[in-house]
Amino acid sequence: MKSGSNRKAQNAGADSAPRPGQPQGSVPLGLADTVAQSLLHIQTELGGSPDLQIRRIQIGGERRLEAAAVHLSGLADPAAVNEFVLGSLLNHTEELFLDRTDGGADSRGEEASLPQQILSRAMETGEALLQEEWKEIMLAILSGDTAILLEGCRAAILCGTRGGEQRAVSEPTSQLVVRGPKDGFVESVATNIALIRRRIKSAKLHLEVLKLGSETHTHVAMMYMKGIAGEDLIREARDRLNKIALNEILESGYIEELIQDKSFTPFPTIYNTERPDVAAGNLLEGRVVIIVDGTPFVLILPAVFTQFFQSAEDYSQRFDIAILMRLVRYLSFLVLILGPSVYLALTTYHYEMIPTTLLINLLSQRENVPFPAFVELLLMETAFEILREAGVRMPRAIGQTVSVVGALILGTAVVEAGIITPIMVIVVALTGIASFALPAYNMAIAGRIIRFAFLIMASIFGFYGITLGLILLVAHMSSLRSFGVPYLFPFVPLSIKGHKDTLFRMPLWLNGADKPPAQMREEMPDYMLLTTGHEEQLPPLIRKNCRTEEENREE
């Protein structure tokens, strides 16, 4: 394991600390000479957990060697345990002992190689190895493997019997498409890797697996296309992953938060998806995919702003349709962040810009409304956010009711009660709908946050404030990097070639499909290539780890 020293220290600390259930002041737990003693140690370590399955057997025919197979029920595949582990132990070990008695050679050497012999001659499982490290054995048992203990032997045979219940591959619940593949990632990292491999049958597709989280030992797989993804990008991604020191990794969001370039920004700089086709497409474009065990959401990096407006469907539909849909998405993002603030600026500062007839309507609507427009908007936006939050959390059966009650009944009632003007309901509803038109949920949330900032700017300064806000927004976005790639690429820095799949999706024959991305990469000018060295802006936890690592090195 290539973890930082900090992490090792943590682990050591965790091991030596006295825990409930562990006899105080006793010898450290580990494999003992006798099976019974070892089993006791395992039981102690797990706190006598009842799901620990121990099968004590005697192998070797006449010799009757004490042995035990240990696994956790639920995690291990019972069929594999019964058939391949216990079956091979009970059926094929007799010959080994016969050979031994016949040979009559140096008994000490024979003794040491007994587990080795079982491993190489008796075990029928595809995945098996000899392990002496106590920690590794415990980890294997906790991952669903079966450990075989032998009398008089300070090593255990670990057999790969991971299994248990898993969710089947099904249609993703987010990022739906009308046309396109309907399979989605699941919680198992192995299945997810297979889903990607099934799409890219190329030897260039490389995979690296890490275990992160000192308590959870979560499998984290990093995939990339060798020769297409930039070497510096791969190195940077690997480095940042290795620097993660956290007790638990339960979702890819944990990792995203730790490896992103800048913490204090509403904009996501790492893309996540539930769709294998999106992951595969991004791999082929030279991006790195990070799959975390236990979640169907994989991370894709680096991610630029325009990527969050691409949908998997853009590539299944004809390009003219895709262009139209994509323009609608950009438009809805503008409506989302500027809609309420433009309305506010128009009515409170720039009434002369509203057509006279419309102005008369607005005037008569506002006649008996008690609140200023700003308060009115805040009330309505807050109400809408509450509705949306309620709708998401509600059980599916009554989720519909919430939206109907919220949108229709509340909207009408609020207007009839004279608290809100009807046009305000239109503005708020439109921005609400606009937020759902974005294909990336995290970008929609970013828009929702920014919207409130613009609302305040508009209430203080009118259009002047909105313009100031836009300048600030663009400045902030220009300062963002995703693994060294400018967030606004290909707008800033401007690249005409990079525009083939941004505002418009150009037809595939124009998209340069005939040219491998690595070649296109070579054609790029230097300043557009990936740059790293933004550690300044890395999250504090990783920064801290970097510093301790450096200090250790100096010592």
């Binding site: 409170t348 500062y349 009434y351 006279t356 008369i360 005037l363 409304v369 209430s459 203080i460 009118g462």
Partner: protein, 401 residues
């Protein structure tokens, strides 16, 4: 890190400054009184140099559900020695801020216009709230106030009705055209000439009752706003009214007319009528001697025959050619009427001087100070061409057989 802390403190200081300044200039819509039209009159005394009447929209009466059945607009009048003073005076009578951002119509009384509108236009251009594309009218022979207080049939806001009336007449057979504040300002700057502004008056006797809904209750409203006549200016002062051929010729010279009817009297009695649907008039100048320039008015028009009272053979090119020759004479007559009226009024609002300036800027410099005199006796030639494009749905009338 330290920088960041200082930055954070800086933001903490700046933020209250932004928030505590409040929302300057911010006015909620229900605190505004939207002015749709302004009438500008001149009172008798110096204190009433400007008498401004603001037509304010009562929005609730127009589209609200809880209307009280009162008038959809209200008129507030303020007086003062300057525009600003008059505006302030009127503001004191209203409960809300008089907002001039939606003024669509400015009506200036004839009396005011004859005294000069220079100062007024300066205010309109300087004031940030007013628009340069509000339409300007001159009320013909009556106070402008009366125009702004006449109830109209087709729009609840009389100012809007006036705008629509102008648009309709300018599209259909009328010689009035859109004349906004900026057009007038540009017109005033023409040396030796001036702008041409639409006239408006009420047909029928104007009484205070014209401002009430009762006036509209009969099928025939007692007083109707009518857009007609053109007010011709010399510099910023009203000189006279153009009607009939003189007005038509003026608009033809400005190329601002879309279509208009022309009648030819038949010797047998009755009239041929034509619709001129395309007209292009341009000025050519020969200025070997700037003191005596020679202008050639080039007219190209296309006509459609609309009425033929006599069974002429309209399929014969000869007949049509004869008719177009007579149309040419008509066109020349229009322009001639316009020119002679302009010469009488002593104002070159037709743009002859500008044509000379474009052709011969140096010569123009010599004559521009006494351009009125040069214009009064310059020679004008005509080069007209009128083509009858079609005779509408029929060629020969059924009467011919």
């Amino acid at each position: 890190m330290r920088n960041r802390i200082f930055g954070g403190i800086g933001v903490l200081f700046v933020l209250p400054m932004l928030l505590l300044t409040g929302c300057w200039d911010s006015v909620e819509l229900n605190r505004r009184a939207i002015v749709s039209g302004v009438a500008i009159d001149r009172g008798d005394s110096e204190a009433e140099r400007y008498k401004l009447s603001f037509q304010v929209i009562v929005a609730e009466e127009i589209s609200g559900e809880k209307s009280r059945g009162i008038s959809p607009v209200a008129l507030y009048t303020g007086t003062g020695r300057t525009m600003f003073e008059a505006l302030a005076d009127a503001s004191r009578q209203t409960a809300r801020f008089l907002s001039l951002g939606h003024v669509r119509v400015l009506v200036i009384s004839e009396k005011f216009a004859r005294a000069g509108i220079k100062d007024l236009l300066d205010v309109l251009e300087r004031e940030s709230d007013t628009r340069l594309n509000s339409l300007i009218f001159i009320s013909k022979g009556q106070p402008a106030r009366e125009i702004m207080s006449t109830m109209t049939v087709f729009s609840k806001i009389p100012a809007n009705d006036l705008v629509e009336k102008l648009e309709t007449t300018s599209k259909q057979f009328g010689y009035n055209f859109r004349m906004a504040v900026d057009d007038v300002i540009r017109g005033i700057q023409i040396r030796g000439g001036g702008p041409v502004i639409n006239g408006v008056f009420t047909r029928g006797e104007w009484t205070p009752a014209s401002g009430s809904n009762d006036s509209l209750k009969s099928i025939e409203p007692r007083s109707i706003l009518r857009v007609s006549s053109l007010a011709a200016f010399k510099d910023d002062k009203l000189k006279g009214w153009l009607t009939g051929d003189a007005a038509l010729g003026t608009v033809l010279l400005h190329n601002r007319i879309k279509e208009f009817p022309v009648l030819l009297k038949q010797q047998e009695g009755g009239y041929f009528s034509f619709n001129i649907y395309q007209s292009q008039v341009s000025l050519a100048v020969e200025s070997s001697d700037p003191e005596h320039p020679v202008f050639t008015v080039k007219i190209t028009q296309q006509a459609a025959l609309k009425e033929a009272p006599h069974p002429l053979d309209l399929t014969s090119p000869k007949v049509l050619e004869e008719l177009s020759d007579r149309l040419i004479k008509e066109s020349v007559k229009h322009i001639q009427a316009a020119v002679s009226t302009a010469k009488e009024l002593g104002s070159d609002y037709l743009g002859f001087g500008r044509a000379l300036q474009r052709k011969d800027p140096r010569g123009w410099k010599k004559v521009r100070d006494h351009w009125e005199d040069v214009f009064a006796d310059c020679e004008i030639r005509f080069d007209a061409d009128v083509v009858i494009r079609h005779t509408d749905m029929r060629s020969n009338s059924f009467q011919i057989h």
